[in-house]
Symmetry: C2
Subunit: 466 residues, 2 copies
């Protein structure tokens, strides 16, 4: 495990706050070792840093009460959804209280006429989509994991559909949030757009629990398209696959999904999901629209891919086949882990302008090979965002060092291409060293905002800027 | 004119700063009465509050230098683009220095492959589109006025194309900005999405010059669609027109524009632009896509409008005809002013969930009539955003009072419908009384952010929160 420096603990304050919380919340407040460790667990190579207690909140008022107690005694408060974040977001480097929001799992309102809904933060994206299905609606943001919508808002998640439907920033209309002093605010209503003062919604979305705890989310929804079709196409190299993606974006083809898997990833997915695909770089696509437009999109894609040596272009004809293909894509993480049993996957998250994608992915593949790393690549190629995931034997110090060097090298490369080290995973603990490099003095102003909104520094300390 | 309380002036500081700026900038620094008054001029019913000097900046470094001088002497700094804002944004209630950015008018880079560009803040949207045309690209945000892109970013402008392409928030990839202490920061690169810390880009977009002065903007662009067609359709009532819009949005038809004009507005436009249209509520539409999809969209719209009594549905067949129709829409403001010569137009900016639009517009129309106000309505109906614009004889105190009452009533109505008092114009001076009502305690946290990023309060004082 990679260790982050622990932060100084306020043991006296934590002791006092825990006494108050146990009395106030009874069995909702748990301090057992296993539950605390599970709530510090993160799907990363970062050391587990458990909180001192987990409180299972059931209402916004309860969240407010917890924060008020912690504010009074200067105790860290860490919000927890499903624990699927990738950069140590839920670790507790200074101890403190984890607020588990999974029991706040109600869909509070669905306004079908306005294509919006209001949910509690513990609703997962799959639960929401199950709830919406018979209304002919869906929520498009799909980070892969069945994450909670509160967590997705807190980390500005995106994923496979972002090329068409945007990220959480584009799909959260407004929030209810508990601020660092326990006050509950609303950042807006249900209007599609607003210019009413500073954009608190988009400041809090992606603030990773460091500026507030999100207690309600108003989301944009989409109508389920009249027609959906999927397709796959194989390519001789990741370069030719990326060039095809670039031509698709430049053409303005409104693909709903365009995902890249490199040959290593295809091999892993074949093994895990029994796909039988040619083991060369692959694009997986999805088209949404009317019956006619879906056919037209698929034809245009076929013509574009021909120019770059695409082969085996095949549209899925049944829902079953489509689901199998996308399930395999969603299982990529598990397929990777099985590809090298016992290894830890270290997710990277570079995002570059689309014209640089082919070069960036090609260089990343070559560099991983040079370093002797097994590092499958999957990518939301239409956004220029891809994940190289070195599969690392954490007991091998030399390999860990090579992997760490690779991650730093890749972040540098993305920045040199006018990109970012994190397209969608966020900063958390893991990317703090890169934030200043990427954002320069803008980081100082982020720290000013943090100090202004959380003067005692109790909200998820040790993440993003501090 | 409606008077806003003047704020206390720091006469000594202003005197000192002006001396320094005159010496440093020579003829770039002007203090003549006419130029100052022109830079306080706003297209509103608010009193003109001119700055003490106007400095015509030519580089980011010059902007930084000006801000540093003003910071040292605690002198207000007000950024100025083209002066087309509608809520008194460029007024100088405490005097100070206006920074005119119109000479920073260069398109610095166009990355056709990535569909993005980087511009100085004084480039206007029409200039940018002229620059882009031979590259097959366009910038979609169209607030009507030929505003500067810096001003559009500062006020989070949107307009007729937002239903398809979003607002400035959705189309600014990153900024260079001069902060209140004169430091120059960059808020990101050219990646399509990023999760690198707090979203400084979207915090500064829409901050109306109160948190920074924007000195460069990196924008998303669009490919000019293969096919564009326009259409118009008349309706018996604004209610039936709005119901049609709602069904279009619920259907998921990707209209590029869907604009509402009520019968008063059609009458004014007929007179001003010689259109000869039936004087009943009207929808103007534009469809973007492939040749086939544009035809399909137009057909689907026709079927939907039939359900609500749409008549005279006609697609334009020539570019000339299309341009005439949209020029008339863009000239709506001038058509209104000519409709009641000598009157001042008082723009409102309510934005409500689409299911409430028909009710909101219908009530607004009835209320204006009750109050004896001549108040044409135009609206970006697909976003639920519409502008009722009472045409007021400012010499008639009773009429001014009725108009003011109408504006307050409409804002209340929009809020009661889960909407906002400002979909796109911003708060400025004019909407400050409504911000607290709309945002509640969230306004306190906006004020905290303002104090953190501009501790001396020199950036555009007297707007948004203070």
């Amino acid at each position: 495990m990679v260790k982050h420096a622990k932060m100084p603990r306020n043991d006296a304050g934590i002791h006092t706050a825990l006494g108050i919380l146990k009395q106030r919340f009874g069995t909702q407040c748990q301090t057992g070792h296993a539950v605390c460790e599970q709530h510090g667990h993160t799907t990363t190579w970062l050391e587990n840093q458990p909180p001192d207690a987990v409180v299972f909140a059931q209402t916004s008022q309860e969240v407010s009460d917890i924060v008020k107690v912690c504010a009074e005694h200067r105790v860290p408060v860490i919000a927890y959804g499903t624990g699927t974040s990738l950069e140590g977001h839920v670790n507790a480097p200074a101890g403190g209280v984890c607020v588990d929001l999974s029991q706040m799992d109600k869909v509070l309102a669905v306004n079908a006429g306005d294509l919006d809904c209001r949910v509690q933060p513990g609703v997962t994206r799959e639960d929401l989509n199950t709830h919406l299905r018979d209304k002919g609606l869906f929520f498009p943001i799909d980070p892969g994991a069945n994450a909670s919508l509160g967590g997705m808002a807190a980390t500005n998640a995106s994923g496979t559909n972002a090329v068409r439907y945007g990220t959480m920033k584009d799909n959260v209309l407004s929030l209810e949030a508990v601020m660092a002093d326990g006050r509950i605010i609303r950042t807006g209503g249900r209007a599609r757009k607003t210019s009413a003062g500073y954009d608190m919604t988009r400041l809090l979305v992606g603030s990773e629990g460091t500026l507030c705890i999100i207690t309600e989310i108003t989301l944009r929804l989409q109508g389920i398209p009249e027609a959906i079709s999927s397709a796959r196409c194989s390519f001789p190299t990741v370069e030719s696959a990326c060039q095809t993606v670039m031509s698709v974006i430049q053409y303005g083809l409104p693909v709903a999904r365009i995902e890249l898997l490199d040959e290593v990833m295809v091999r892993a997915s074949n093994a895990y999901s029994n796909l039988g695909l040619p083991e060369t770089p692959l694009l997986l696509l999805e088209f949404h629209g009317t019956e006619a437009s879906v056919v037209e999109q698929a034809e245009i894609f076929g013509a574009l891919s021909d120019d770059f040596g695409g082969t085996g272009y095949a549209a899925t004809t049944t829902t079953e086949e489509r689901n199998k293909l996308w399930k395999a894509r969603h299982d990529a993480y598990w397929a990777m882990l099985q590809y090298r049993p016992g290894a830890t996957g270290i997710a990277t998250d570079a995002c570059v302008p689309i014209s640089r994608l082919a070069d960036c992915v090609t260089q990343a593949q070559a560099r991983a090979q040079e370093l002797g790393l097994i590092a499958p690549i999957v990518g939301h190629a239409g956004d220029g965002n891809f994940h190289v995931t070195p599969l690392v034997d954490m007991a091998d110090a030399d390999e860990v060092a090579r992997a760490a060097g690779f991650v730093a090298w890749l972040n540098d490369l993305a920045l040199s291409m006018d990109g970012t080290c994190t397209g969608e995973h966020g900063i958390g603990q893991g990317k703090m060293p890169y934030l200043v490099q990427e954002m320069g003095e803008a980081t100082d102003f982020m720290a000013d905002i943090k100090a202004a909104l959380d003067p005692k520094g109790i909200l998820n300390p040790g993440k993003i800027t501090s």
